[in-house]
Protein backbone atom coordinates (compact mmCIF):
# COMPACT_ATOMS: atom_id res chain seq x y z
CA UNK A 1 0.00 0.00 0.00
CA UNK A 2 1.40 3.40 -1.01
CA UNK A 3 0.80 6.35 1.35
CA UNK A 4 1.85 9.97 1.60
CA UNK A 5 1.88 10.05 5.40
CA UNK A 6 1.92 7.75 8.41
CA UNK A 7 -1.80 8.29 9.03
CA UNK A 8 -4.51 6.74 6.90
CA UNK A 9 -8.28 6.74 6.67
CA UNK A 10 -9.59 3.39 8.03
CA UNK A 11 -11.82 2.79 4.99
CA UNK A 12 -8.91 3.35 2.61
CA UNK A 13 -6.78 1.00 4.69
CA UNK A 14 -9.49 -1.66 4.64
CA UNK A 15 -9.90 -1.40 0.87
CA UNK A 16 -6.17 -1.84 0.33
CA UNK A 17 -5.37 -4.50 2.92
CA UNK A 18 -8.61 -6.23 3.93
CA UNK A 19 -8.00 -5.23 7.58
CA UNK A 20 -10.99 -3.39 9.05
CA UNK A 21 -10.89 -1.18 12.14
CA UNK A 22 -13.53 -2.47 14.58
CA UNK A 23 -14.21 -1.95 18.29
CA UNK A 24 -12.45 -5.25 19.04
CA UNK A 25 -9.37 -4.28 17.02
CA UNK A 26 -8.08 -4.74 13.48
CA UNK A 27 -9.99 -7.58 11.85
CA UNK A 28 -9.69 -9.64 8.68
CA UNK A 29 -11.94 -12.62 8.16
CA UNK A 30 -12.24 -14.44 11.49
CA UNK A 31 -9.03 -12.94 12.84
CA UNK A 32 -8.93 -9.83 15.07
CA UNK A 33 -5.82 -8.19 16.55
CA UNK A 34 -6.29 -5.83 19.52
CA UNK A 35 -4.94 -2.37 18.73
CA UNK A 36 -6.60 0.12 21.10
CA UNK A 37 -4.13 2.93 20.35
CA UNK A 38 -4.26 2.52 16.57
CA UNK A 39 -7.00 5.11 16.00
CA UNK A 40 -5.88 8.71 16.43
CA UNK A 41 -7.96 11.55 17.86
CA UNK A 42 -8.97 12.64 14.36
CA UNK A 43 -10.23 9.17 13.45
CA UNK A 44 -7.28 8.12 11.31
CA UNK A 45 -5.17 5.00 11.75
CA UNK A 46 -1.63 5.46 13.06
CA UNK A 47 0.32 3.47 10.50
CA UNK A 48 3.28 2.86 12.83
CA UNK A 49 0.98 1.25 15.42
CA UNK A 50 -0.91 -0.78 12.84
CA UNK A 51 2.34 -1.97 11.25
CA UNK A 52 3.70 -3.04 14.63
CA UNK A 53 0.55 -4.97 15.57
CA UNK A 54 0.20 -6.72 12.21
CA UNK A 55 3.87 -7.21 11.36
CA UNK A 56 3.68 -4.94 8.32
CA UNK A 57 6.98 -3.57 7.07
CA UNK A 58 7.22 0.19 6.54
CA UNK A 59 9.48 1.56 3.80
CA UNK A 60 9.90 5.32 3.61
CA UNK A 61 11.03 7.30 0.57
CA UNK A 62 11.66 10.83 1.83
CA UNK A 63 12.88 12.00 -1.57
CA UNK A 64 9.40 11.54 -3.01
CA UNK A 65 7.37 11.94 0.19
CA UNK A 66 6.06 8.38 0.06
CA UNK A 67 5.56 5.52 2.47
CA UNK A 68 5.03 1.89 1.40
CA UNK A 69 3.34 -0.53 3.75
CA UNK A 70 3.90 -4.26 3.23
CA UNK A 71 1.37 -7.01 3.94
CA UNK A 72 0.96 -8.59 7.36
CA UNK A 73 3.67 -11.07 8.34
CA UNK A 74 4.54 -13.61 10.98
CA UNK A 75 2.38 -16.38 9.63
CA UNK A 76 1.26 -17.53 6.23
CA UNK A 77 0.46 -15.50 3.13
CA UNK A 78 -3.23 -16.29 3.58
CA UNK A 79 -5.18 -15.40 6.72
CA UNK A 80 -8.59 -16.25 5.25
CA UNK A 81 -9.90 -18.38 2.41
CA UNK A 82 -12.65 -15.90 1.53
CA UNK A 83 -11.69 -14.31 -1.78
CA UNK A 84 -12.06 -10.50 -1.81
CA UNK A 85 -14.23 -8.98 -4.51
CA UNK A 86 -11.25 -8.02 -6.67
CA UNK A 87 -11.94 -5.44 -9.38
CA UNK A 88 -10.70 -6.29 -12.86
CA UNK A 89 -11.02 -4.85 -16.34
CA UNK A 90 -12.18 -7.19 -19.10
CA UNK A 91 -10.78 -7.43 -22.62
CA UNK A 92 -13.17 -4.70 -23.78
CA UNK A 93 -12.13 -2.30 -21.03
CA UNK A 94 -15.26 -2.77 -18.97
CA UNK A 95 -15.20 -3.25 -15.17
CA UNK A 96 -15.37 -6.90 -14.17
CA UNK A 97 -16.07 -8.11 -10.66
CA UNK A 98 -14.85 -11.50 -9.47
CA UNK A 99 -18.04 -11.86 -7.44
CA UNK A 100 -20.00 -12.00 -10.71
CA UNK A 101 -18.68 -15.57 -11.01
CA UNK A 102 -20.25 -16.75 -7.74
CA UNK A 103 -22.05 -20.02 -8.34
CA UNK A 104 -19.33 -21.25 -10.67
CA UNK A 105 -15.91 -22.74 -10.09
CA UNK A 106 -13.09 -20.32 -10.92
CA UNK A 107 -9.50 -21.08 -11.91
CA UNK A 108 -7.77 -17.72 -11.46
CA UNK A 109 -4.47 -17.70 -13.34
CA UNK A 110 -1.81 -14.98 -13.02
CA UNK A 111 0.60 -14.87 -15.93
CA UNK A 112 3.28 -12.58 -17.32
CA UNK A 113 4.90 -12.54 -20.73
CA UNK A 114 8.40 -12.92 -19.31
Amino acid sequence: MILESLAVDPATFADATGWESKPEGLCKGDQCVPAPEAVTADGLLDVTVVADRLGMAIVEDPDHGLVALGPESGGRALTTTTVPDLPFTDADGNPFSLSSLHGRKVLLVAWASW
Binding site: M1, I2, G55, M56, A57, I58, V59, D61, H64, L66, A68, L69, G70, P71, E72, S73, G74, G75, R76, A77, L78, T79, T80, T81, T82, V83, L98, S99, L101, H102, G103, R104, K105, V106, L107, L108, V109, A110, W111, A112, S113, W114
Partner: protein, 177 residues
Protein backbone atom coordinates in the same frame (compact mmCIF):
# COMPACT_ATOMS: atom_id res chain seq x y z
CA UNK B 1 0.49 -19.39 -10.86
CA UNK B 2 -3.16 -20.06 -10.12
CA UNK B 3 -5.68 -20.42 -7.31
CA UNK B 4 -8.88 -22.42 -7.28
CA UNK B 5 -12.08 -20.72 -6.08
CA UNK B 6 -15.27 -22.68 -5.43
CA UNK B 7 -18.87 -21.66 -6.12
CA UNK B 8 -19.11 -19.77 -2.79
CA UNK B 9 -16.06 -17.59 -3.44
CA UNK B 10 -13.80 -19.65 -1.16
CA UNK B 11 -10.24 -20.64 -2.00
CA UNK B 12 -9.82 -24.41 -2.21
CA UNK B 13 -6.18 -24.33 -3.38
CA UNK B 14 -3.59 -21.60 -2.65
CA UNK B 15 -1.25 -20.05 -5.23
CA UNK B 16 0.97 -22.61 -6.93
CA UNK B 17 2.56 -23.25 -10.31
CA UNK B 18 -0.20 -24.06 -12.73
CA UNK B 19 0.98 -25.25 -16.12
CA UNK B 20 -1.40 -27.54 -18.00
CA UNK B 21 0.99 -28.35 -20.82
CA UNK B 22 4.78 -28.73 -20.90
CA UNK B 23 6.74 -25.68 -22.03
CA UNK B 24 7.90 -25.99 -25.64
CA UNK B 25 11.28 -24.71 -24.44
CA UNK B 26 11.84 -28.18 -22.94
CA UNK B 27 12.01 -29.61 -26.44
CA UNK B 28 14.81 -27.33 -27.59
CA UNK B 29 17.84 -29.30 -28.63
CA UNK B 30 21.02 -28.18 -26.92
CA UNK B 31 23.67 -28.19 -29.61
CA UNK B 32 27.37 -27.37 -29.46
CA UNK B 33 26.96 -24.41 -31.79
CA UNK B 34 24.87 -22.54 -29.22
CA UNK B 35 26.76 -20.01 -27.08
CA UNK B 36 27.89 -21.53 -23.78
CA UNK B 37 25.51 -19.37 -21.71
CA UNK B 38 22.56 -20.48 -23.86
CA UNK B 39 23.57 -24.11 -23.44
CA UNK B 40 23.66 -23.58 -19.67
CA UNK B 41 20.32 -21.78 -19.73
CA UNK B 42 18.49 -24.46 -21.68
CA UNK B 43 20.06 -27.14 -19.47
CA UNK B 44 18.42 -25.49 -16.44
CA UNK B 45 15.13 -24.96 -18.31
CA UNK B 46 14.94 -28.68 -19.02
CA UNK B 47 15.25 -29.31 -15.24
CA UNK B 48 12.17 -27.19 -14.38
CA UNK B 49 9.59 -29.35 -12.59
CA UNK B 50 6.90 -30.48 -15.01
CA UNK B 51 3.57 -31.25 -13.37
CA UNK B 52 1.43 -30.23 -16.33
CA UNK B 53 -0.26 -33.58 -16.90
CA UNK B 54 -1.02 -34.16 -13.21
CA UNK B 55 -2.20 -30.57 -12.71
CA UNK B 56 -4.55 -30.73 -15.67
CA UNK B 57 -5.98 -34.02 -14.35
CA UNK B 58 -6.44 -32.46 -10.90
CA UNK B 59 -8.46 -29.58 -12.38
CA UNK B 60 -10.69 -32.00 -14.27
CA UNK B 61 -11.20 -34.06 -11.10
CA UNK B 62 -12.23 -30.93 -9.17
CA UNK B 63 -14.63 -29.84 -11.90
CA UNK B 64 -16.28 -33.27 -11.85
CA UNK B 65 -16.28 -33.92 -8.09
CA UNK B 66 -16.29 -30.47 -6.44
CA UNK B 67 -15.62 -30.53 -2.71
CA UNK B 68 -15.33 -34.33 -2.85
CA UNK B 69 -12.27 -34.06 -5.08
CA UNK B 70 -9.12 -35.07 -3.20
CA UNK B 71 -7.45 -32.00 -4.69
CA UNK B 72 -9.94 -29.55 -3.13
CA UNK B 73 -8.60 -28.49 0.26
CA UNK B 74 -10.50 -27.61 3.43
CA UNK B 75 -10.05 -23.98 4.57
CA UNK B 76 -7.47 -24.82 7.25
CA UNK B 77 -5.50 -26.84 4.71
CA UNK B 78 -5.49 -23.92 2.27
CA UNK B 79 -4.16 -21.55 4.93
CA UNK B 80 -1.47 -24.01 6.01
CA UNK B 81 -0.45 -24.68 2.40
CA UNK B 82 -0.05 -21.00 1.54
CA UNK B 83 3.47 -19.61 1.54
CA UNK B 84 5.16 -18.53 4.79
CA UNK B 85 5.47 -14.78 5.13
CA UNK B 86 8.25 -13.56 7.43
CA UNK B 87 8.80 -9.84 8.00
CA UNK B 88 11.50 -9.78 5.30
CA UNK B 89 8.89 -10.79 2.73
CA UNK B 90 6.56 -8.02 3.90
CA UNK B 91 9.45 -5.59 3.50
CA UNK B 92 10.21 -6.97 0.04
CA UNK B 93 6.58 -6.51 -0.99
CA UNK B 94 6.60 -2.91 0.22
CA UNK B 95 9.87 -2.19 -1.59
CA UNK B 96 8.61 -3.78 -4.80
CA UNK B 97 5.32 -1.87 -4.70
CA UNK B 98 7.13 1.38 -4.02
CA UNK B 99 9.42 0.68 -6.97
CA UNK B 100 6.43 0.03 -9.22
CA UNK B 101 4.79 3.24 -8.09
CA UNK B 102 7.96 5.25 -8.74
CA UNK B 103 8.47 3.56 -12.11
CA UNK B 104 5.00 4.68 -13.19
CA UNK B 105 5.08 8.17 -11.70
CA UNK B 106 8.76 9.23 -11.81
CA UNK B 107 10.71 6.84 -14.01
CA UNK B 108 12.77 3.67 -14.00
CA UNK B 109 15.85 5.20 -12.39
CA UNK B 110 13.82 6.06 -9.31
CA UNK B 111 12.50 2.51 -9.09
CA UNK B 112 15.75 0.55 -9.45
CA UNK B 113 17.17 1.15 -5.92
CA UNK B 114 13.96 -0.11 -4.32
CA UNK B 115 13.70 -3.12 -6.63
CA UNK B 116 17.30 -4.03 -5.78
CA UNK B 117 16.40 -3.95 -2.09
CA UNK B 118 13.29 -6.05 -2.77
CA UNK B 119 15.42 -8.68 -4.51
CA UNK B 120 17.76 -8.81 -1.51
CA UNK B 121 14.91 -8.98 1.02
CA UNK B 122 13.19 -11.90 -0.75
CA UNK B 123 15.70 -13.53 -3.11
CA UNK B 124 13.37 -16.45 -3.85
CA UNK B 125 10.67 -14.24 -5.36
CA UNK B 126 11.08 -14.54 -9.11
CA UNK B 127 8.26 -12.10 -9.87
CA UNK B 128 10.19 -9.23 -8.28
CA UNK B 129 13.34 -10.11 -10.19
CA UNK B 130 11.88 -10.87 -13.58
CA UNK B 131 9.66 -7.79 -13.60
CA UNK B 132 12.72 -5.62 -12.97
CA UNK B 133 15.01 -7.51 -15.34
CA UNK B 134 12.56 -7.46 -18.22
CA UNK B 135 12.42 -3.67 -18.08
CA UNK B 136 16.21 -3.64 -18.50
CA UNK B 137 16.43 -6.04 -21.40
CA UNK B 138 13.23 -5.36 -23.35
CA UNK B 139 12.95 -2.16 -25.39
CA UNK B 140 9.54 -0.47 -25.05
CA UNK B 141 6.99 -1.94 -27.41
CA UNK B 142 8.99 -5.07 -28.20
CA UNK B 143 8.33 -8.68 -27.22
CA UNK B 144 9.63 -9.60 -23.79
CA UNK B 145 13.18 -10.89 -23.54
CA UNK B 146 12.69 -14.28 -21.87
CA UNK B 147 16.42 -14.97 -21.56
CA UNK B 148 17.07 -11.95 -19.33
CA UNK B 149 20.84 -12.00 -19.55
CA UNK B 150 21.28 -8.22 -19.19
CA UNK B 151 23.00 -7.64 -15.86
CA UNK B 152 24.56 -4.17 -15.88
CA UNK B 153 21.95 -2.68 -13.53
CA UNK B 154 21.24 -5.57 -11.22
CA UNK B 155 24.53 -7.49 -11.40
CA UNK B 156 22.84 -10.84 -11.85
CA UNK B 157 20.74 -12.73 -14.37
CA UNK B 158 18.02 -15.36 -14.52
CA UNK B 159 20.55 -18.09 -15.19
CA UNK B 160 22.94 -17.01 -12.42
CA UNK B 161 20.16 -16.80 -9.86
CA UNK B 162 18.52 -20.07 -10.85
CA UNK B 163 21.85 -21.88 -10.42
CA UNK B 164 22.51 -20.05 -7.12
CA UNK B 165 19.06 -21.08 -5.80
CA UNK B 166 19.38 -24.81 -6.44
CA UNK B 167 19.05 -25.11 -10.22
CA UNK B 168 16.04 -25.44 -12.49
CA UNK B 169 14.62 -28.30 -10.43
CA UNK B 170 14.11 -25.88 -7.50
CA UNK B 171 12.37 -23.18 -9.55
CA UNK B 172 8.76 -22.22 -8.85
CA UNK B 173 6.19 -23.36 -6.31
CA UNK B 174 5.50 -27.01 -7.01
CA UNK B 175 1.84 -27.96 -6.64
CA UNK B 176 1.37 -30.57 -3.91
CA UNK B 177 -0.97 -32.97 -5.70
Amino acid sequence: MAVWIDETGTLVRPAESASIEPSPMRAIEITDDLPERMQMLFTEVKKLPDHAEDYRAAIVDWVENGADSRFAMAPHEVLEASQPRPLDHSRAAALFELGCHLHDTVGKDAAVPFWKQAHAANPENWTYKRQAWTLESTPPGEASDMVQEVSDTYGTTWLDDVIANGGGEAYGITPAL
